[in-house]
């Protein structure tokens, strides 16, 4: 028995099966990501001054990843248009580029952006000890400029064993530029191009630290929401790439010979999903990287 409306639209709805299916799925996805974005916004609005990290993400790398995803949206549409024009080799070419873009995005995220954070350390100073660490925080200078105070000393942890060994009473931190030169006006705001780490090492007593952690979800609400949303988004990118690889493999050539319109419809549905995933990133990028 042949399933009806796989390639032609149902007369009463004007839609074929997979299209109505993907839009119902995307509606549920809007609710999923909408809930997470709402949570992020409310958590951020309610954060105490100085307790919402800013400028910790690499803006040029985020911009590059945004451009990669936008390019992949263009190529997936061109792949679909090529199928509609019955140009199979062009379809393979554009789909190949789409797959490549998706893989590059994931590699940048998983092999560069995330691991850097796993090796970056931050120690939040207790309110009573803020004055003691003023040379690294520069809060008097920030107050004058009307900026939020700094409550964290961050950089590379030179003695990582201090995280687990209770007998070690100090963290030795190779400082980030903002803590090495807290009075430098360039460090008052998040930088577009990340500043290189200094050679200065600060010795921070564990008694003065409220919370010490690598830049992992435990570090702050910011990183908890960052890893949740970008992780979920990354899984969606991975899912899209897997589907695209399937539609690019020889199985697509067989389907193309048998029923080219059915292949075009499959690509259209996968392309709709891909556009949604890219649209989510268009919101993730300014929210996490810029604002």
């Amino acid at each position: 028995m042949e399933i009806p409306y796989t390639t032609t639209a149902r007369p009463d709805t004007g839609l074929w099966n997979a299209k109505i299916g993907i839009w119902l799925f995307l509606a549920s996805e809007v609710m999923l990501f909408g809930g997470l974005f709402s949570a992020y916004i409310f958590l951020r609005l309610d954060a105490a001054p100085g307790h919402w990290p800013r400028g910790l993400l690499n803006v040029p790398v985020g911009t590059m990843n945004t451009a990669i995803l936008i390019a992949s949206s263009v190529t997936v549409v061109l792949a679909w248009a090529a199928l509609k024009m019955r140009q199979f080799s062009k379809y393979k070419f554009y789909m190949g580029i789409t797959i490549l873009c998706g893989i590059v995005f994931l590699v940048v995220k998983l092999a560069y952006e995330w691991p850097i954070k796993f090796h970056h350390f931050g120690a939040k100073i207790t309110p009573a000890a803020l004055e003691k660490y003023e040379p690294y925080l520069g809060n008097a200078h920030l107050r004058e400029g009307g900026y939020e105070p700094r409550v964290e000393i961050s950089g590379h942890l030179e003695n990582p064993e201090a995280l687990h060994d209770e007998s070690i009473r100090e963290y030795h931190i190779k400082l980030d530029a903002a803590n090495a030169e807290p009075l430098n006006p360039d460090n008052d705001r998040p930088r577009f191009w990340p500043a290189p780490m200094s050679d200065k090492i600060a010795h921070v007593s564990k008694d003065d630290v409220q919370l010490a952690s690598m830049y992992v979800p435990k570090h702050s609400t910011f990183f908890a929401t960052y890893f949740t949303i970008t992780g979920l988004h990354g899984l969606h990118v991975l899912g899209g790439v897997i589907v695209f690889i399937y539609l690019w493999l020889p199985v697509s050539a067989r389907l193309y010979k048998r029923n080219p319109e059915q292949l075009a419809n499959r690509v259209e549905v996968a392309g709709l999903f891909w556009h949604f995933v890219d649209l989510v990133w268009i919101f993730v990028f300014p929210l996490f990287y810029l604002l």
Partner: protein
């Protein structure tokens, strides 16, 4: 909505993002005088212009191919 319709919406949103990012870079540059942001603003406005041009080209192509009726 079809893929081509969603694509036009996507390009519109992306163009708006590039424009607002450019304005944000200009505002930061005026406030802090950081030259990196001015370069960023120029890059963003160029990207917005490129996306707009692409959007118009795409719409015309789809019309010509009768993929948009």
């Amino acid at each position: 909505m079809s893929l081509k319709g969603f694509h036009i919406v996507f390009i519109t949103v992306t163009t708006l993002l590039a424009l607002s990012l450019g304005v944000w870079c200009l505002a930061v540059n005026r406030g802090a005088g950081a030259p990196g942001y001015l370069t960023g603003a120029i890059f963003c406005f160029a990207a917005a212009a490129g996306l707009l041009t692409y959007g118009v080209w795409f719409y015309r192509k789809m019309k010509r191919l009768r993929l948009i009726t």
